[in-house]
């Protein structure tokens, strides 16, 4: 399921003059996400990615491109490899001894599985938000500034923390209690804190693994609004088992079915209204789940 826009890009990635490139891309990225996705750049491009846990294959030959500044949702029944694929993007699967990855995965043209890539350096360019909120037992300020501290980034940390909390729609609620422990916030607030923490170091992509599944409906809808806003600045890839959520907030949707197979990947409206594959239609209409 490759995007047409990819053909433009394979040519340009060979061009060494990055400066020229940025001018061209500025034009394309100013296109809002509601425009035809053919003009969007590709940020993450997977080619024949397969994953085994010991002898069991969890992902079958996944090829897809994730466009910039859009929300790409990955849906499917549980155990179909959506989280596994997500964790390939920032090589978090490396931390699992039993996992074995094959294939190529390019982040902005560089294959993250190349031998010369340092996974730690890679993860500093990609943000991740987990299923259950996991703020550190530190103050709210220290939580958000954590990424800046470990990368020893320059800049005014106070301002970056404020910006990140504002972008995560949490600033107003905590601006007077930045010293308070992150664990004292409610579940929904903790998850927004984790989002602020993830965006503070300005990542290329934000990966979200079922970010609202542990939250109550009010908090869930707050997170969903937030995700749509985040796509204006960042590229968001979200795994969700909640189909309606995917329909609500994503621009593109990938459907994973049993055995780690990517069955269809297209614009969200197409997937939900008129999917090509019968299996996808059966899944969407709830014939199995």
């Amino acid at each position: 399921m490759t995007d047409n826009s990819e053909q433009e890009y394979t040519a340009s990635t060979d061009d060494p003059t990055a400066d020229e490139m940025s001018i061209e891309t500025d034009v394309s990225t100013s296109v809002s996400s509601s425009d035809s996705t053919q003009h969007a750049n590709t940020v993450v491009s997977a080619e024949n990615v397969s994953v085994w846990y010991n002898d069991e294959q969890a992902l079958q030959d996944i090829t897809l491109d994730i466009p910039e500044n859009q929300v790409t949702a990955m849906i499917g029944p549980s155990g179909c490899g959506k989280s596994t694929f997500l964790r390939c993007i920032n090589r978090m699967n490396d931390l699992i001894d039993a996992a074995h990855v094959e294939g190529d995965l390019h982040l902005r043209g560089k294959n993250v599985y190349d031998d010369d890539v340092d996974p730690v350096a890679l993860r500093r360019r990609v943000g991740m938000v987990f299923q259950s909120p996991n703020p550190f037992p530190k103050s709210i300020y220290d939580n958000v500034a954590y990424g800046l501290e470990i990368q020893d980034k320059e800049g005014d940390y106070d301002e970056i923390v404020e910006q990140s909390l504002k972008r995560a729609a949490l600033w107003d609620e905590v601006k007077d209690q930045l010293d308070q422990s992150g664990l004292e916030l409610s579940g929904g607030q903790q998850q927004r804190l984790c989002i602020a923490r993830a965006i503070a170091p300005d990542p290329e992509v934000i990966l979200m693994d079922e970010p609202a599944s542990a939250l109550d409906p009010v908090a869930t809808s707050q997170i969903e609004d937030l995700i749509s806003e985040l796509a204006e600045e960042y590229t968001v890839v979200i795994v969700t088992h909640n189909m309606q959520q995917a329909a609500r907030i994503s621009n593109k949707t990938a459907v994973f079915l049993t055995g780690g197979e990517l069955v269809e990947f297209d614009d969200t409206e197409k997937i939900f209204e008129n999917p090509e594959s019968q299996r996808v239609e059966d899944y969407i209409t709830g014939k199995f789940g």
Binding site: S12, T13, A18, M21, S22, E24, T25, D26, T29, N41, E68, L107, R108, G109, K110, V112, D116, V117, D118, V120, A121, L122, R124, R125, D202, E204, E233
Partner: protein
């Protein structure tokens, strides 16, 4: 936010040098204590055993008969069949440790408890058990209390009457036959059942019979090898037969592990063969301070003749007393706290209390023993009874805490299943919880006993004698203990000869006993953990 690059050539690299240096520093710190202790152990072993004073021929012989074959077989097995290797090695270890404990047990039967007396008590036990079983058959006709009282009467009666009766017999069989019947037979029964568990009734009876016969032969075979009948019987019953039975049982269940026995055979043949060879070839062994004389003589002002025998006996008697006191009381308290106690302030108070008691210095427990048992209750100082009671109080909090851990590790779903079937609390505890938690409780108790064996201060406080010339024979005999004897040598008799000979030897014996106990506990715990997973 920064403008995004279109193309990333390189994600950059994060320096890991700080992390790597840190990792090696951590490893060094972790190994520091262990390596330091290992070095100290080597030093003291060298001082006590003096391996370098042996003839080169002695070293060479054992090298050829024991070391080389063992290494060869071990490395081969380890690479091709690790499970068999572990089995073979465990049999060797089991044999070594059990022989050591059997030696201690033999000491008890030789010098402390005459086999006749033991026989009498075992007979009483059997009779009272038989009586209790008969009474239980009437559990529909008689209420519980009546049965309880009747059973109690039978037990008390049996123990009061039978031992005296037996001892007053004009004629009775020789010591080793008595022991075979009363000590070896029960052990053979348990071992035989395990070894032949899948062979049906006849097979089991055969196995038990074989075990009893083997033990009985000890009285005859032993003297041929230079071992008197009673120790021979004890060693056979406590070391040889159980180990053989265990090995047989495992091999029947897992035939593939048979090859591990090759390792066992190589080690045993190498050791005995080497011993025979050095005897025949006349090579002198190391002039070790830890020798048979050291283990079997009493203290003497002359360092070279000083021995550890009464102290070893004292330690054994103390351990028996401590175990008898602390095991039921400690496990009982743990059961109450985990299974019965409601979650109120009183229970929490007991909790806090126990964890505080675990932190009280051992000297203070000694003071407690002194003030309560000696001064207040007027007992004579330094006896087995008050020594054992004081040490039992010392390790009671430890036993309670580890028993609680073991009880807590029983999944609640098992209890729920039992209660769901209408079982009472005691029924659940007895049938579901305790069996499952038993290995963990056993491990914790063994470790606690190991702590008690090594304690000196409380014994000093209750007035245990510094030097003892004869073996303690009963609960009210004065008692010494291994660490106490070593301390006395190191402080009261501190002089070069003692520090050269007696003290290192005593330290080595003490360490060997302790390390064996710790290893048994650790092996038990590992086996239990891997079984339940």
């Amino acid at each position: 936010m920064a403008t995004r690059e279109d193309v990333i050539e390189d994600f950059g690299h994060v320096s890991r040098t700080a992390g790597t240096v840190f990792r090696y520093l951590l490893l060094a710190a972790t190994l520091f204590g262990i390596v330091a202790l290992a070095v100290l152990l080597l030093y003291v072993a060298n001082d006590a055993i003096q391996p370098l004073t042996a003839d080169p021929g002695w070293h060479l012989t054992f090298f050829l008969t024991l070391v080389v074959p063992t290494l060869a077989v071990s490395s081969y097995l380890f690479r091709t069949d690790p499970v068999s290797f572990r089995f073979g090695a465990s049999i060797v270890g089991l044999l070594a440790v059990s022989t050591m404990f059997a030696g201690g047990m033999a000491m008890i039967f030789v010098d402390i408890v005459p086999p006749v007396v033991w026989f009498g008590y075992v007979l009483a036990l059997c009779l009272s058990l038989a009586g209790v079983v008969v009474i239980e058959r009437f559990d529909r006709q008689l209420p519980f209390l009546a049965r309880f009282v009747a059973a109690g009467a039978i037990v008390v009666g049996a123990f009061a009457v039978v031992p005296g009766l037996v001892q007053s017999l004009p004629v009775y069989p020789t010591d080793d036959i008595l022991l075979t019947l009363s000590f070896g037979a029960p052990i053979a029964a348990v071992v035989g059942r395990y070894a032949a568990a899948d062979a049906g009734r006849r097979g089991r009876l055969l196995a038990i019979g074989a075990g009893v016969v083997a033990i009985g032969l000890g009285g005859v075979v032993g003297p041929l090898l230079g071992v008197t009948p009673v120790p021979a019987t004890v060693i056979l019953s406590l070391a040889v037969v159980p180990t053989a039975g265990y090995a047989a049982g495992i091999v029947r269940r897992h035939p593939a592990r048979r090859s591990g026995l090759v390792l066992t055979a190589v080690v045993l043949l190498g050791a005995f063969g080497g011993a025979a060879a050095v005897d025949a070839l006349g090579f002198a062994g190391p002039q070790s301070w830890v020798d048979w004389q050291f283990l079997t003589s009493a203290h003497s002002g002359d360092a070279i003749n000083a021995g550890l025998y009464p102290a070893i006996g004292g330690s054994i008697l103390l351990m028996v007393t401590v175990a008898a006191l602390s095991f039921p009381l400690g496990v009982g308290a743990a059961v109450y706290l985990e299974e019965y106690a409601p979650d109120n302030r009183f229970t929490r108070f007991i909790d806090v209390n126990i964890s505080n008691l675990a932190g009280v210095p051992s000297v203070v427990y000694g003071l407690l023993g002194l003030a309560v048992f000696v001064t207040y209750l007027g007992q004579p100082t330094g006896t087995v009874l008050i020594g054992g009671a004081t040490l039992a109080l010392l390790i009671l909090p430890i036993v309670i805490i580890s028993a609680r851990e073991a009880l807590r590790s029983v999944p609640d779903s098992m209890r729920q299943a039992s209660y769901g079937m209408g079982a009472t609390r005691w029924q659940t505890i007895r049938n579901v919880v305790l069996p499952r938690a038993f290995p963990g409780i056993l491990t914790g108790t063994i470790l606690a006993l190991g702590r008690a064996i090594g304690e000196t201060a409380p014994l000093i406080m209750i007035g245990a004698p510094n030097v003892l010339f004869s073996l303690p024979t009963g609960l009210s005999s004065k008692v010494s203990a291994m660490p106490l004897q070593v301390y006395a040598w190191a402080s009261l008799f501190a002089s070069d000869p003692f520090y050269q000979a007696a003290v290192p030897a005593g330290v080595v014996v003490l360490l060997v006993v302790l390390l064996s106990m710790n290893s048994v506990a650790i092996v038990l715990r590992n086996k239990y953990q891997s079984d339940s997973q």
